[in-house]
Amino acid sequence: MAVATPPRPAKIGRLERPALTGVLVREIVNYSSYWRASAFSSTVEPTLYLLAFGFGFGSIVSTIGGYDYVEFVATGTVATAVLFSSAFPAMFGTYVKYAFQRTYDAILAAPVDTEELVSAEALWMAMRASVYGCVPLVVGIVFGLEPSWGMLVVPFIAFVSGFGWACFGIAVAGFSKSIDNFSYIVSAVLTPLFLLAGTFFPLDQMPEWVQALSLLNPLHHTVQLVRNAVFGFAGWTDFLRFGFLIVFGLAMWRVAIRAMTRKLID
């Protein structure tokens, strides 16, 4: 018996829009059932940081680097909101969908490959980060932060940074053998990066080696870019910072695809 006649060259390739759209539609439809909880955790936590540090330390430290301390923290916690709405959901969400819900098995049985799956998931989380990341600015405005045209660039910065952090989270989920291992990543990687991002205090008073290491911290560049967008861009150094975030995002994207391919295709 002959094998079924091979079709004409199919119009199917890599990173196709229908595949990306399909995964995004799934996320959007699902989001309608859990958006309250997601929005709450991703915005309230950074806002609490803003209020606690801004008004707590703000009563002791009035200005930092010429900025009102509340303004300093309001711009800094944008990066925190980006991290909380991208890296954390990516880690836990990816692991749950892979290991417990087996959602990815269902998606990969359709004409979607791992590269498209990871890309769409990261894009979705980046989109959310670009919205949630702006919440601290809105809260800051309520408490006296002066609106500026540069704020319009912040969602874009949050999107690029959120994409990288989402891919980071997906990669962690892809390489982890157990969800318990996430504790190591949170304690040993994310918390130090979060504390040394320049969100709550400027890094120029820190030892030189800390300042040097902070140049490798994408969260630090996010903080600085947002701050500069709000208070005034710093020229070519901002381009370098933005370039760093793009490189971080691209590198993490490839790592995440590799990790998930190993996990999902045996």
């Binding site: 018996m1 079924a4 399909g22 799934r26 439809v29 699902n30 819900q101 087996r102 098995d105 049985a109």
Partner: protein, 323 residues
Amino acid sequence: MTSDETRNRDRAAGVVAGVDTPAVNGDLAIRLRGVVKRYDEITAVAGLDLDVPTGTCVGLLGPNGAGKSTTMRTLTGQSIADEGEVEVLGFRLPEESKQARAQLGVAPQLDNLDVTLTVEQNLLVFSHLYRIVRHERHAAIERALEMAKLVDRRATRVDKLSGGMRRRLLIARALVHRPRLVLLDEPTVGLDPQVRQELWALIDALRAEGTTILMSTHYIEEAQRLADSVVIMSHGKAVAKGPPAELVAEHAGREAIEVYGAPAKLAEVEASARAEGFRTRRTGTSVSVLGIEGADGRAPDEGERRAANLEDVFVLLTGEQID
């Protein structure tokens, strides 16, 4: 299937955007040759040859661990064979697995529905994933709902559905894009007999439409009832292939006699039957003497006569009991 039906089917399948639909002319929908899949020290599939002609329902029968699910994963490109050739709908895997998956529907053994979504939302998501064009999407979802008899449940969240309804939804999800080939991995495992009957009716309707089906199961009755042809797998290999009736006739004859009794008596019956040249198989409480038709006088004179069945074949060929 008539040529008109075939044309209608192809046209309907054409709702999948950007995917060509080759002609269906009694060709092979699945062709595996010498497929081997290893996981470290374990060989899950050990040189499997498998042909699934288009328009037929083939049952992959075997106990747990026989390699059925690994074979299914290989056909969707989620498991890459270490050796051998895999062709699905004319596409070579793993290179062209995405093209094959566009025309393939999969109902997995483990429920992976989005439980917080409604029935209709689950189908909507997969109508996008399977690239059904916008103006055909609504009709495709309606058709899948009707086929799975879930029209009245369209707005029900999946976590409020019964086990049987969830399984029907899994099958509906696999059919939403009118695939040319459907893979059903243990479609009725864990369901009560009544729900199983409902699902059998659904699968039967698919067969009647001419959809090619590869169904893995470890239920003998399921394979015997639904499959045009059965492949019995054991330890990653196909140990017998053919229509159920032919397999039974070839390996177990037409009739069997089943003798119950104490272990000593069963051993005695077994020994004397073998001495007469009969094939026998043991179950927990009985021994079956096979191929007794036309053997009056030589066959045991006590016990219950019954028709030989696929389970006799399976146990004879593999030495394993199955459900």
